[in-house]
Symmetry: C2
Subunit: 252 residues, 2 copies
């Protein structure tokens, strides 16, 4: 009894044991994000295979994935390198972020007020995490949290496609920051995030009145992104060498 001559509708992946690859992708991605793997670093297949205790083909697949996200560069017969954005590319990435994050903020502002408690809770929780990392001087955690914050807002905006695009842009802007940040200390913008959360939650200096600070929030986000980009020195060309084994000591 053949009912369906048609193509079978794909069902969702049950995330069987493909988790191993996802783990490696995440591990390398995070290492790149928090500067343990600076731009230009060579990612040798065999080394990574040993570090993560997987076959070389698996590493190869992961590198292909990361190359699609433009976080590593694949050069034929030469191998994989942590991507090193050009100054132009860096500017493009930040402009793209402004475009998308403005839309994200607009969508959040269009949300019915007051915001759902779950949202406010997650915002406050995030604020607490950032403040804790700031007090502890945990720079790596701060970088990771900063990315997560922007992604959190994109999630609230309710467009998963935009959120995915933004995630990729955040990765790449992290790369740009790693490649072009000035030697001088920079404030890491935790204060900016605080103000943004205040504007969104309405707990800021709008002490009375129904003002939710929506327009403020959009402006704050744009100013925030401008500030981050302004902290870059789009002329430098840094590069360093690292030891893969020591960097991935805790993973594997």
């Amino acid at each position: 009894m053949k009912i369906a001559l048609t193509a079978s509708p794909p069902r969702r992946s049950p995330r069987g044991r493909g988790g191993a690859e996802a783990r490696i992708v995440r591990s390398i991605g995070e290492a790149i994000a928090d500067r343990r793997l600076p731009p230009g670093t060579k990612l040798a297949e065999e080394s990574l295979a040993q570090v993560f205790s997987v076959s070389r083909e698996r590493v190869r697949k992961v590198l292909l994935l990361l190359a699609q996200r433009q976080v590593v560069t694949l050069i034929p017969n030469r191998g994989a390198f942590v991507a090193k954005p050009t100054a132009q590319e860096a500017r493009e990435v930040f402009e793209a972020r402004r475009v998308i994050e403005r839309a994200v903020m607009d969508k959040i502002c269009a949300l019915p007020r007051p915001l759902p408690p779950a949202m406010l809770a997650r915002l406050n929780d995030h604020r607490a995490q950032e403040e804790a990392a700031e007090r502890a001087g945990d720079r790596k955690a701060l970088i990771r949290l900063s990315g997560q914050f922007h992604l959190l807002l994109a999630e609230f905006a309710g467009n998963g496609t935009l959120a995915t695009i933004l995630a990729s842009l955040i990765d790449r802007s992290g790369l740009a920051i790693a490649a072009f940040e000035r030697r001088t200390a920079h404030t890491c913008s935790a204060e900016d995030h605080r103000r943004l959360i205040d504007a969104l939650a309405g707990t800021g200096d709008h002490t009375h009145g129904a003002g939710c600070g929506c327009a403020d929030a959009v402006t704050l986000m744009m100013t925030h992104l401008d500030a981050v980009e302004a902290q870059l020195d789009l002329d430098a060309t840094p590069d360093t060498a690292v030891d893969l084994k020591s960097i991935f000591a805790e993973d594997g």
Copy 2:
């Protein structure tokens, strides 16, 4: 004399013979774009390998690439299928396009006037191509040209990163159209493109005065995207079966 302990700066890929993969990606991508491969179609590795006269691993690599672009769906132990967006996903993709293409139009409007002759020439050339395809009733060419038009504008905007993102969104919106378009004929929007070109080139009904129709162009683009999305029936769930061999007869 060891000068550089640092990682070697990656140079650009010379596009050696990786062109074979690019060819297959393009071939499959186009087949999906102009509906020869409807959403849900199974893409068997062995069949594709025979069709393109390459090894199965090559096909596997290509499928992984297309999966990253969300144009095919990979299901473990089941194979690859042409992606079939959900209604929600379709709406998200169109919203993302509105966000990005509004920015693109804004950037084009900020360009110094008059536009460079090369730009105008390409716009007019494209208009001619669309009109020719329209007269010939070549639906497939029209679909391809429509995508190229939006990409052309993104290129003019001068942000390659945004253009790349938009290219992916255009592919996906083509998929959404294939999955959800109403059975009734639709006008294919060549007229919209014409009006857009007029507004940009200043050859429209602003017969005199310096008005370049910039604000008009932005509005036209938004209206255009709304119209395309409005032509979809975000409830249907079509699926068909096709013969891979016959579809790729001219490629290979």
